[in-house]
């Protein structure tokens, strides 16, 4: 099958803005999310969570809870078989099944406030809640480890006795909270710094932030008499959820059917499973359907946020504005179990630049906080907050305009990154060019205490496996099914690509996401991959349909297969001018018995760069930062549905504004979260943000038939450093910690 790009004049649907297939169901309230599943005889599951950040479980007595009328079953870790100590890639993160088991239901230790200890099923949510209070757990309280730098000291209490640092020079020989130490070296950093005229060095810190999807985690499990386990889940990866449940229950994948529901936001946080396995255990024990839905507090306490970090960075440059060397140390909180996004954080940190010499050391550090999960460009916003402020400061020191300095050091195709990879087609210079020419960058600010900042970012995206099947109906319409969970419109964008290849109207394609019994393996909807990779599977499936139809035509007309051509919905043969048949007529003749398969494993994908221009106004008396204007620029390769791309950009930027100014876990010294609700964990409201202008650049990625690149993650990377750079301009003070709350700002400018 040809992998060549589809010619632009064949774009019928791609690049247009059709109505989303799921829109009407969602605006009317009919779409069913994980939390909406209701089945006859449904029991309500709830999870008991640890009140301690670090403690050994001495005993658990569930007898009183079990005796409460209306309670059907209680489960604890002992109800699960032992799990393999094996780590696998899961989206942009990793999953170790032994740790996943302990994170689903703690066995010997609780490692954070909110760690699941037991689960129960009752006939009503209120009874379930009351029963939780009757479970007696005796804890031996241990010292909590909450600060990432403190955790790295060899004098600190370790979370896991068995963990040794997996380092660049092999494995450590004593227990450590540093699960992994990675190192990237390029060139000769020492020489690079000695060649520098100006060197800037700073430390930056960030705290954990939550993806804060509005729908909490929800799973409903049904255990059939035939041994089939059916789970309705608001997971972002149905097959990924099935794999986790299969591993934790040691139960065959063939007997587990995961039905993906509509998902009320995920952003990386719904790759790991939390409630699916407990729901399954409870369903098996009770013989009834069991639904476990987390409360908002449980979501904040018990699911994986993005990492808190401590980052030191040093960059040197010549007076003429050439970066000579960088050095950075990235300490990323993994939470209770290994697996922080320090790898992608280190990848992204200076990926937009051509750096001749550099060293990055990254540490994956265990602390008594929830095990982190992927959050939109995992690891990158933190490292960009540090990197893009240092770049800004260096430009100021040298006396160069920020765009000019970045342009002078911009990476391009073929540039070797610090992690050793070579950049494929990228558009950093084009993005900087757009910033430079944009009215927003050139119009003057119009008031006191205002500042303008810019920042850029790069994200590598992901490819991986997707499956699509297309069935052609006898009326010429087609049904497309895919294994991808549709988070923000991929049913539509995938269908658009199939419609283009089939050269039929988009309206004739009905696209659905299906359960794990109904299609072959598909990776999770993560890493900005779905429109691109599942779209490619749709292209392949559509081409398969056309190949099969061409075969039918050649049989029907007794002409050679090579002579059959298809264009604008009509099959013809070069052998006889008179013969032709439309797609729909052929479909009718074949009674709809034609299908096409697309199973792809995309190993060649492209990253995406982006940038942010932002204006802020700071109230120097209160420390409040107001974002006045914001422009986001991004290379989409090809915007399959420009409206969706704009939506991803605007949404990502506003999450970035939240991260910059409002959001962050607050802990007391014992590790209790002080703001586990949406009043004190502050998401930006419509009043806190401006309308973000989205500027899409289309520099195609040649290996994709449409030139498409992933777009979902890049937009969150550059807002926080852009805002910090704007605040610096407004106040003359560089803010080195996130979030930049009014309290932080007043402290930094010495007012309090």
């Amino acid at each position: 099958m040809s992998k060549k790009m589809i010619e632009r004049d064949k774009h019928i649907s791609v690049g247009t803005r059709p109505e989303r297939m799921d829109a009407k169901d969602k605006v009317t309230g009919h779409a069913l999310y994980g939390t909406d599943i209701n089945l006859p005889g449904l029991l309500h599951g709830r999870v008991l969570r640890s009140p301690h950040a670090h403690a050994r479980i001495v005993s658990i007595d569930t007898s009183k809870a079990e005796a409460l009328p209306g309670v059907f079953a209680v489960v604890i870790a002992n109800d699960l078989p032992e799990a393999d100590d094996r780590t696998e890639k899961a989206g942009e993160s990793t999953i170790n099944y032994k740790f996943l088991r302990d994170n689903n239901l703690a066995s010997d230790k609780v490692l954070y406030v909110g760690h699941a200890v037991a689960a129960l099923a009752a006939k009503s949510p209120d009874i379930a809640q009351n029963a939780l209070e009757l479970i007696e757990v005796e804890y031996e309280i241990l010292e909590p480890v909450l600060d990432v730098r403190h955790a790295m000291s060899d004098k600190t209490q370790v979370l896991h006795e068995q963990i040794r640092t997996d380092g660049p020079d092999g494995s450590g020989d004593t227990p450590s909270n540093i699960a992994q130490h990675i190192r990237h070296v390029k060139g000769d950093p020492d020489k690079g710094f000695s060649d520098a005229d100006v060197i800037v060095e700073r430390e930056f810190t960030t705290v954990p932030v939550h993806q804060s999807y509005l729908e909490s985690h929800a799973a409903t499990a049904v255990w059939g008499m035939d041994g089939t386990l059916t789970i309705y889940s608001s997971t972002q990866g149905a097959f990924l959820a099935r794999r986790q449940v299969s591993e934790l229950l040691q139960y065959p994948m063939s007997k587990i059917k995961v039905i993906p529901t509509e998902v009320g936001g995920a952003f990386g946080g719904k790759n790991p499973t939390y409630v699916e396995t407990p729901a399954a255990l409870l369903a098996r024990k009770t013989g009834r359907p069991v639904r476990v839905v987390m409360s908002r507090e449980e979501v904040i306490l018990g699911t994986g946020p993005g990492s808190g970090t401590a980052i030191t960075v040093k960059v040197g440059a010549t007076k003429l504005g050439k970066i000579t060397a960088v050095q950075a140390e990235l300490c990323y909180e993994a939470g209770a179990y290994p697996g922080s996004p320090v790898h992608p954080g280190a990848m992204a940190m200076f990926a937009a630049y051509d750096i001749p010499n550099g060293q990055i050391d990254g540490y994956d550090v265990l602390v008594n906080k929830p095990r982190v999960a992927a959050y939109r460009a995992p690891g990158a916003p933190q490292s960009a907050f540090a990197g893009e402020q240092i770049i800004d400061e260096l430009a100021q020191k040298i006396g160069m305009d920020g765009v000019e300095f970045r342009m002078a050091n911009a990476a391009s195709e073929g540039t070797e990154r610090l992690d050793g990879s070579l950049h494929k087609s990228i558009a950093i210079q084009e993005i900087l060019g757009v910033i430079e020419d944009h009215p927003h960058y050139n119009e003057p600010l119009d008031g006191p205490n205002q500042g303008r900042g810019i920042a850029i970012g790069f994200w590598d995206n992901w490819g991986a496996r997707s499956s699509v099947e297309i069935n052609v109906n006898s009326d010429g319409t087609v049904n497309l099914i895919s294994g991808s969970v549709d988070l923000t419109g991929s049913r539509t964008t995938v269908a658009m690509q199939a419609a283009d290849v089939l050269e039929i109207p988009f309206e004739n394609v009905k696209s659905s996401m299906v359960d794990t019994d109904s299609i072959s393996y598909t990776d999770t909807s993560a890493g900005s991959r779905t429109t691109m990779a599942t779209g490619l599977a749709a292209v392949e499936a559509a081409r398969d349909v056309l190949t099969k139809l061409q075969l039918e035509v050649s049989d029907m007309w007794s002409v050679s297969l090579d002579s059959v051509v298809y264009s604008k919905g009509v099959f013809r043969t070069t052998e006889r001018k008179s013969e032709n048949i439309t797609f729909a007529d052929l479909a009718a003749k074949l009674s709809g018995q034609i299908n096409g398969h697309g199973n792809v494993n995309v190993e060649n994908w492209a990253g995406a760069g982006g940038g942010t221009i932002v204006d802020v106004e700071v109230d120097p008396e209160t420390g409040q930062v107001k974002v006045l204007r914001c422009t986001a620029i991004q290379n989409a390769g090809k915007a399959i549905h420009p409206g969706h791309v704009e939506g991803q950009m605007q949404g990502g930027v506003v999450q970035g504004i939240g991260w910059a100014l409002y959001e962050g876990y607050q802990y007391d010294e014992l590790g209790h979260v002080l703001n586990a609700n949406l009043l004190d964990y502050k998401l930006p409201t419509s009043l806190d943000v401006p309308s973000v202008e989205a500027v899409i650049i289309e520099k195609p990625f040649p290996s994709n038939p449409y030139g498409a690149r992933g777009v979902g993650e890049t937009p969150i990377i550059s807002p926080a450093p852009a805002i910090a750079n704007a605040v610096q301009q407004a106040l003359g003070q560089r803010i080195d910690q996130l979030p930049m709350t009014p309290t932080t700002l007043l402290e930094k400018i010495g007012v309090i």
Partner: protein, 292 residues
């Protein structure tokens, strides 16, 4: 939530009787925007919840120049800010009513509930305190009037005795040449809770340059919203000026010993009280000038 009995009486007498008859824990429900959240999170045992929204006296908003403004204890914020006499005469009340929660909350949350909830950060309490509100309370022993500054006695605790209920809040008519304002600081623009807040009402002389009387209430900087009498005293008899307001702001800062919590630090709150007092007084004075 634990289950409870529910009654919705339509008279004050019925309510008082219900309260006196019930042995266990009884709670009065108005808008429920605080109460239901508290019950849900504490999962506490409650025997009876009495919904008082059906009692006409608790839903009234009445104004006449002689007796002033009467706000029924269960009247929601939106009813308050949609009331023409309140809009015309009590700007600080409008300020508070329009910043509590969002539109959906404002259709439920009442000033009476805000007051009985006795949160240190009660915006409505600060606004009403600056206007010299009196709380009208009824119990089986009869009626009492409690000055608003004596109503909240600790975080979450009010001065109501067992069997008593808040009926309404009475706010005196504005004096000539007076203005009021309620101003708070929150990290987000709306849908947020005060890190610190200041309510102020100012009465000027007929020349509009001397302060005849002033009441300043400080919010979220003490166990309850507090009346800052030292600040008022520093203003009375003085000519309005930037430096006077600055001085008052400094006094406000000195009168408080706030705590550090998840919403702000002690030093931040102290600092903010200074900034907010100055800004709030400035607007109250401007409003006094405009009104006349």
């Amino acid at each position: 939530m634990k289950t409870f009995d529910y009654e919705a009486p339509v008279t004050i007498d019925q309510t008082i009787t219900l309260m006196s008859k019930t042995r266990g824990k009884t709670l009065l429900l108005a808008g429920g925007t605080d109460l239901l959240v508290q019950l849900r999170y504490s999962n506490q045992d409650v025997d009876l919840v009495i919904d008082v929204k059906g009692i006409p006296e608790l839903n009234q908003i009445n104004y006449d120049e002689f007796s002033g403004l009467v706000i029924g204890a269960a009247a929601p914020c939106s009813q308050i800010y949609e009331s023409a006499p309140v809009l015309e005469n009590f700007p600080a009340i409008i300020d508070a009513a329009t910043i509590i929660g969002g539109k959906a909350i404002q259709n439920r949350a009442s000033f009476g509930g805000n007051l009985c909830n006795a949160s240190p950060s009660g915006d409505a309490i600060g606004a009403m305190m600056s206007l010299g509100a009196i709380c009208n309370v009824v119990g089986s022993e009869g009626v009492r009037n409690i000055p608003i500054e004596d109503f909240c006695i600790a975080p979450g605790k009010n001065a109501l005795e067992k069997g008593e209920m808040l009926i309404s809040i009475q706010i005196p008519s504005p004096r000539p040449n007076s203005g009021s304002h309620y101003l708070r600081f929150t990290p987000r623009a709306e849908m947020d809770i005060a890190v610190a807040g200041v309510g102020a009402s100012i009465e000027l002389d007929s020349d509009l340059n001397k302060i005849l009387s002033a009441r300043i209430a400080l919010v979220a900087v003490a166990p309850t919203p507090v009346l800052a009498t030292e600040v008022s005293e520093s203003l009375v008899g003085q000519k309005t000026s930037g430096s006077l307001l600055e001085k008052a702001a400094n006094i406000a800062k000195e009168t408080i010993s706030p705590i550090t919590d998840v919403r702000g630090s002690a030093s931040q709150r102290k600092h903010l009280i200074g900034v907010l007092t100055r800004r709030c007084l400035d607007i109250a004075v401007k409003r006094a000038v405009q009104v006349s």
